[in-house]
């Protein structure tokens, strides 16, 4: 039983003269919900982008299941089992809801140009399995009835849920969510919380960057607090809520 699904070892990253992250180490335990919080500019998104392969750390290691993954291309990291959603919802606007989830299956499917042209039985079988699985995911997220709609026609809250369904389609071991509650109303946020708990029950580890404290404190098992690129605190929601340094950083010194 591995202790961590993702492990960051003394990660540093700077952009020009600005030190975005300074010596961050962090372990994500499998099967748990982890959250990274911190004021604006704390380096949350940078950390996120380092795990997903968008940025390379200047120093330090990113281990996924004990193997280093920093330096791999984004699509290779997805194939290892790390899926993500975007802060501003990046759906494929011209495609239907079902097609969006089917694109999410890309990493799990194999047929290429020749398979598409030849349409061999294996390709057709793979395709119909993907559609079945996509419909199941839409059912899981409650979007099944909208399968045929254009994704850009959905209300914003449902677009978020669709993005999560699409990310789950690659069959990830770890799902990274970049501010999943931003732009959602209170009802939608609590639905999102329920959905995230259900995703964890399916055996997917979750790591979210989030501003919404009610969501983070309600569902997280473990929280990392960043402040100006440094680790400020780490622990359970209860420990974080009573941590003086965190209160200082969020509310300012009295």
């Amino acid at each position: 039983m591995p202790q961590s699904i993702v492990e960051l070892q003394s990660i540093s990253k700077s952009f020009g003269g600005i030190q975005a992250l300074y010596d961050i180490s962090f372990k994500v335990r499998p099967g748990a919900i982890h959250a990274i919080i911190g004021p604006n500019g704390a380096g949350k998104t940078t950390l996120f982008n380092i795990i997903t392969g968008l940025y390379r750390p200047d120093e330090g290691l990113v281990l996924f299941e004990q193997n280093p993954i920093h330096g791999l291309a984004i699509h290779q990291i997805v194939r290892l089992g790390i899926a993500r959603t975007f802060q501003n919802v990046e759906l494929f606007a011209s495609m239907s809801v079902l097609e969006n989830v089917l694109v999410g299956h890309h990493a799990r499917l194999r047929s290429g140009f020749w398979g598409a042209i030849g349409r061999w039985p294996r390709v057709r079988h793979e395709e119909s399995r993907a559609v079945e699985h996509a419909v199941e995911l839409l059912r899981f997220t409650g979007l099944e009835e909208l399968a045929d709609q254009k994704s850009s026609d959905l209300p914003f809250g449902w677009q978020r849920f669709l993005e999560i369904a699409r990310a789950l389609a690659s069959d990830p071991k770890l799902l990274l969510l970049d501010e999943p509650a931003s732009g959602l109303n209170a009802v939608e946020t609590s639905q999102l919380g329920e959905l995230l708990m259900k995703i964890r029950e399916r055996g997917v580890t979750l790591l979210l960057v989030e501003h919404d404290m009610s969501l983070t404190m309600g569902i997280s098992d473990h929280i990392l607090v960043l402040h100006q690129g440094r680790r400020l605190a780490e622990g359970t929601p209860r420990e974080i809520q009573s941590n003086d340094a965190v209160i200082c950083a969020y509310l300012g010194k009295d």
């Binding site: 291309a73 984004i74 699509h75 997805v78 194939r79 899926a83 993500r84 975007f86 990046e90 759906l91 494929f92 606007a93 011209s94 495609m95 239907s96 079902l98 097609e99 089917l102 694109v103 999410g104 299956h105 890309h106 990493a107 799990r108 499917l109 047929s111 290429g112 140009f113 398979g115 598409a116 349409r119 390709v123 057709r124 793979e126 395709e127 119909s128 993907a130 559609v131 079945e132 699985h133 419909v135 199941e136 995911l137 059912r139 899981f140 409650g142 099944e144 009835e145 909208l146 399968a147 045929d148 709609q149 699409r166 990310a167 789950l168 690659s170 069959d171 259900k198 399916r202 055996g203």
Partner: protein
């Protein structure tokens, strides 16, 4: 409501099934299975009866495409048998060649969202490689067909590797430059290409004892190839690869996050569109029996882009319409004499202003609006 029902029907579900049942299912503990495991489909009893049939959208899209291909095939056969005027046949054959060009470019532009302002280069490479190999080296045209496809594909691949790292305007500039280099190459390498005076004496095609040089036979050859091209494109569009291409068009960042190797995919579709252009060039060279650099200049590239845009981006059917309009319009506009180009430009402008989504989609929307009224 109607839309929603249609969606349910397309999914092979009972449109009247209440959503209450679905909710009950969501809450069931059966859901807590790992995603993607072989038996991961929800297996509770309430889902089992509305579990969709195995083939849902892709095959139904494929079926309507089959129907359209059949219709086009019937139209082609009818036109080929009924039209005897050689001039009309030749114009229609030209439309076929342009359709092939547009089809390939549409895969690159309309689906993958990558512009090429130098595509006439691949059209020319296809034409010149078959022309040079038959005229100077005495190859049989049926040997030069694979040769010109391979050569063009190889050039496209080598060009695509660096050039597709560019985006937007820069990609336009890069492909434009490439098109110009190839054009100058055709003009200056006169020992083989004949330079400005062109390459003369490209043989007509014959299939064993069957002479394909008659207008009707060539019409069928070209449009048969177009139909095959339609089938190939239709299959690609409705596949994992086609979805990946459209995903790159919509958001390259999100496409990469889905595990799509975006640069590899773009290179592949670039090569595919170059191969379509090479085949069109082959057919063109053996139809006219004479080629000169001017047929493959910058204006030809622009005309190809115009055909894609006028017909409709990301619409296979738009390719026929775009190619037809751009080929026929100048012929019809002869009545305007000196003002021909003026009217031509005006029509293109009006199409772009009022139906920017392209003719096929514009007409479909008009039709649907008139029906709902």
């Amino acid at each position: 409501m109607r839309r929603r029902d249609r969606g349910r029907l397309a999914l092979g579900m009972d449109p009247l099934a209440s959503s209450g049942r679905k909710k009950a299912c969501l809450a069931s503990p059966e859901q807590a299975r790992p995603i993607g495991a072989p038996g991961s489909l929800c297996s509770c009893s309430c889902c089992r009866d509305q579990r969709p049939e195995t083939n849902i959208q892709p095959s139904s899209a494929g079926k309507s495409a089959d129907m359209k291909n059949l219709c086009l095939g019937a139209a082609v056969v009818a036109a080929g048998l009924l039209i005897s005027n050689p001039y009309h046949l030749q114009v229609l054959t030209f439309i076929g060649i342009y359709t092939l060009l547009t089809l390939g470019l549409n895969m690159l532009m309309g689906y993958a969202g990558q512009i090429s302002l130098g595509h006439a280069a691949f059209y020319g490479l296809g034409a010149y490689s078959t022309g040079i190999l038959t005229v100077h080296f005495g190859w049989s045209p049926w040997l030069t067909l694979p040769a010109s496809i391979l050569l063009t594909a190889a050039v496209a691949y080598l060009v695509a590797l660096p050039i597709l790292k560019l985006h937007g305007y820069y990609l336009g500039m890069g492909t434009l430059g490439f098109g110009m280099i190839v054009f100058i190459f055709f003009r200056e390498w006169s020992r083989f290409t004949g330079g400005d005076s062109g390459l003369v004496g490209i043989p007509a095609l014959a299939l064993g004892p069957v002479d394909l040089s008659s207008r009707t036979a060539y019409f069928f050859l070209v449009w048969g190839t177009v139909l095959a091209g339609f089938e190939v494109c239709g299959r690609i569009v409705n596949s994992r690869v086609g979805r990946a291409l459209r995903a790159i068009h919509d958001s390259e960042q999100a496409a990469a996050a889905m595990g799509i190797d975006t640069s590899r995919m773009k290179v592949h579709v670039f090569v595919l569109s170059a191969v379509f252009a090479a085949v069109a060039g082959f057919l063109y060279a053996h139809m006219i029996n004479f080629i000169s650099p001017n047929s493959f200049d910058f204006m030809t590239s622009v005309r190809m882009v115009t055909m894609v845009v006028i017909g409709g981006m990301a619409s296979i059917w738009g390719s026929v319409l775009g190619a037809s309009v751009i080929t026929l319009l100048p012929q019809w506009l002869h009545v305007f004499m000196d003002y021909e180009m003026l009217v031509y430009g005006l029509i293109l402008m009006l199409i772009m202003i009022f139906i920017p989504q392209g003719l096929v989609r514009g007409i479909t929307e008009l039709y649907e609006r008139s029906r709902t009224r």
